[in-house]
């Protein structure tokens, strides 16, 4: 068994897939793992070097030879919280290149089902995060938001908010992965890596901000119908783990 060791970002994973595939060792004799995983006896370990070219080759051939749909599913799988996502994506692609776009309907096949479940979990969390993310206005003129999703959602969220708020400066910071999406008013957006301390000292809440936060909390309370109160139902729809980042729960 030859193990290809790659980084955790989508680009790293696609490069790992390229190296493993092109090694011509046969799909059954290769495996993908992340850096820092436990090592086994009787395995050969090869370090994967990440280059834009290799990643581009993989994504291009998925798009052209299979379909955009499969590419999107693969990209989302690479962003998943799943620890073994690199290898699972590899197994999925083996099927995908064989079956073509039909693979999206072959959920009874375990390798396909794995990627499907990863996608489902990620999409569900993305749906939640698009609604539950809260921004606050800073003195520096930036709308700032802190999130801690289980899947690596910053990129997907950024494209949503770029369409929604094109004329605002905003920043979404993922405090689990120490990276942020930063958007300039009337311009584009990009991903930056940053420790919490780097922006924490530079951003300050606007004075008016508290007034709107108070207004929102008021609304959140008065809109509930007392006769129908149902805490369990509320918890089902809005799990506790999201609440520490939401304005209305910071009392």
């Amino acid at each position: 068994m030859t193990v290809f060791v790659c980084g955790r970002e989508p680009e790293d994973i696609f490069c790992g897939i390229y190296d493993a595939w092109m090694s011509r060792l046969g799909h059954d004799h290769v495996r993908l793992e992340f850096e820092g995983c436990d090592r086994e006896l009787f395995c050969e370990y090869r370090q994967v070097e990440t280059t834009a070219e290799k990643a581009g080759k993989v994504t291009d051939s998925i798009r052209k030879k299979i379909s955009q749909e499969v590419y999107e599913a693969s990209y989302k799988a690479a962003l998943s919280r799943e620890k073994d996502r690199a290898d699972k994506l590899y197994r999925f692609l083996v099927y995908a290149f064989w079956a073509g776009n039909r693979v999206m309907d072959m959920l009874q096949i375990p390798a396909v089902n794995e990627v499907f479940s990863m996608n489902r979990h990620l999409n569900r969390e993305l749906d939640h995060m698009l609604g539950f993310t809260r921004f606050s206005q800073t003195k520096e003129g930036v709308l700032f938001s802190e999130i801690a999703p289980e899947n690596d959602l910053v990129v997907l969220m950024a494209s949503h908010f770029a369409d929604r708020m094109p004329m605002e400066n905003w920043m979404i910071y993922d405090c689990k992965r120490n990276k942020a999406a930063v958007h300039r008013a009337g311009g584009g957006w990009g991903i930056v890596r940053a420790e919490k301390s780097q922006w924490q000292t530079r951003l300050h809440k606007e004075k008016e901000e508290e007034m709107f936060e108070r207004l929102w909390k008021t609304f959140h309370q008065t809109i509930a119908i007392k006769e129908r109160e149902n805490e369990a139902c509320q918890k089902n729809h809005l799990p506790l783990r999201y609440r520490s980042y939401m304005t209305e729960w910071n009392r």
Binding site: D105, L107, G131, F161, F212, L238
Partner: protein, 471 residues
């Protein structure tokens, strides 16, 4: 009556959101629109929930009344003329500020603007129009707007508002003319249905225009859809379309003695004749102490509301007709079984259904199979023969379906296809759920005993058993 103009926005929001909360429609769905270069906002066809309130309902829109002053005296309404509550009104500027600032912080998906009737329907509709006009054209708001069509307002006004909003709604509130006469003096069925018809016509005309002119040349003439006044509307609103997310309505459940059968018949007629996107059901909450209103010692009829929503889904997505679910002889839903299970049990001759062969329509009629599951089954069986293990992998929930399907001619385990047996299996599961809805609980601790019985009175035998120690 106290009318306070000079009140701070915090107080106003408290009063006017409190007064708006009995309107249950809070969806932001039905229209997909990309962001605008110099504006703020876009919309998603599936809608986005931004928070959940203490009653477990989704908060998606900033749901407020423009004013809680009202000339009507509807018995069930908290804002009725004869109630002695503090009255206030927003200004258009205040509504715009709240919407824009909440939206920027991602608190909300858009605005839901309703209102009490101030002075006259026309006057009120005009206020709403000016608010929306400002929000769209001065503030550049491009998110979701749901607005009430006020019955009795000038058709031209309604049309103009329709070009600014995404969804419009007129609440029927009470399903029969008799109910309206009793609880809503001053309103008639005709008056409520009139704006609904106007909005429907506007949408239909627009669709015809789209067909006739094709998409490319149409963009410039879209405004004409509203009739003669269309040109003016077009000039003012640019390329905006007319009520793109369709219209909805709401009926109160349990304020008047109508049966479930009457309710879903009305809903079905509304879907058919008025092309409504949604009919909402709102369990009656007794906010006014009025002798003509029913007393509800057990709280709002939540289980009944739940059953109506289930039936509503069957009408819209599963190809059912109201007559199939209920009839004059059986006018109300089974408390113990959901409407689809109930229907299937009465039609056991149609089951079991073979998963590898049945068509889409037939699959949809199987209890436990939804639109998503049915589609996945159709897609997956093209490349393989499915068995029960495969169904689980597809994410199909077998709890109820298992009694109604076969895979390659076999049921999952041997059992008798017999009404009483299956009913008993389904009821055990469903009773738990129904209990949870009635008693506001979603989780309960497991108990060694059949704890649905704890509410049954102690019988003689029980008492004797305790004394003799023969438990």
């Amino acid at each position: 009556m106290l009318i306070q103009e000079a009140m701070d926005i915090q107080e106003k929001l408290k009063i006017l959101s409190d007064a708006a909360k009995y309107d249950v429609a809070c969806t932001s769905s039905g229209v997909s629109r990309n962001g605008k270069k110099n504006g703020l906002g876009n919309t998603y066809a599936s809608g986005i929930c931004h928070s959940f309130s203490a009653d477990g309902r989704c908060i998606s829109l900033l749901k407020i009344l423009f004013t809680n002053q009202c000339i009507y005296d509807c018995k069930y309404c908290i804002n009725r003329r004869s109630n002695d509550v503090v009255r206030t009104a927003f200004t258009p500027e205040e509504v715009c500020t709240l919407t824009m600032e909440f939206y920027r912080r991602n608190y909300i998906e858009g605005l839901f603007l309703s209102s009490g009737i101030l002075y006259s329907p026309d006057y009120t509709m005009n206020l709403l129009y000016h608010t929306l006009y400002r929000l769209r054209n001065v503030c550049g708001f491009n998110g979701y707007i749901h607005v009430k069509a006020i019955p009795g307002a000038d058709p031209e006004l309604l049309r103009q508002v329709g070009f600014l909003a995404d969804r419009m709604s007129t609440n029927l509130e009470l399903p029969t003319a008799e109910g309206l006469r009793r609880l809503a003096p001053g309103k008639t069925r005709e008056k409520i249905l009139q704006p609904m018809r106007l909005v429907q016509r506007g949408i239909v005309q627009q669709d015809q225009m789209r067909l006739e002119y094709g998409k490319s040349s149409f963009s410039g003439t879209r405004g004409v859809a509203g009739g003669e006044a269309g040109n003016a509307a077009k000039a003012e609103t640019g390329k905006r379309s007319f009520v793109p997310a369709g219209q909805s309505t709401q009926m109160i459940v349990g304020a008047t003695p109508e049966s479930d059968y009457q309710m879903i018949r009305v809903a079905e007629a509304l879907y058919r004749n008025y092309d409504l996107k949604r009919v909402f059901y709102s369990a009656f909450v007794r906010v006014n102490d009025d002798s003509s209103l029913p007393a509800l010692p057990g709280g709002p009829p939540l289980l009944r509301e739940h059953r109506l929503y289930q039936a509503d889904w069957l009408l819209r997505f599963y190809g059912f007709q109201a007559e199939e679910l209920l009839s004059e002889d059986r006018p109300n839903f089974n408390v113990l079984l959901d409407p689809k299970c109930d229907w299937a049990l009465r039609h056991l001759e149609l089951f079991p259904v073979e998963i590898n062969r049945a068509d889409y329509k037939t699959l949809l009629r199987v209890p436990g199979l939804g639109v998503k599951s049915a589609r996945r089954i159709l897609a997956a069986r093209r490349s393989a023969r499915l068995d029960f293990g495969d169904l689980k992998k597809l994410g199909v929930v077998l709890k109820r379906a298992v009694y109604f399907i076969t895979c390659s001619g076999k049921t999952m385990y041997p059992f008798q296809i017999e009404e009483n047996y299956i009913a008993a299996q389904l009821v055990g599961e469903e009773r738990r759920k129904a209990w949870e809805i009635e008693y506001h609980e979603s989780f309960r601790q497991l108990s060694l005993f059949e704890d649905n019985r704890i509410w049954a009175p102690v019988t003689r035998e029980d008492a004797a058993a305790v004394i003799t120690g023969s438990l």
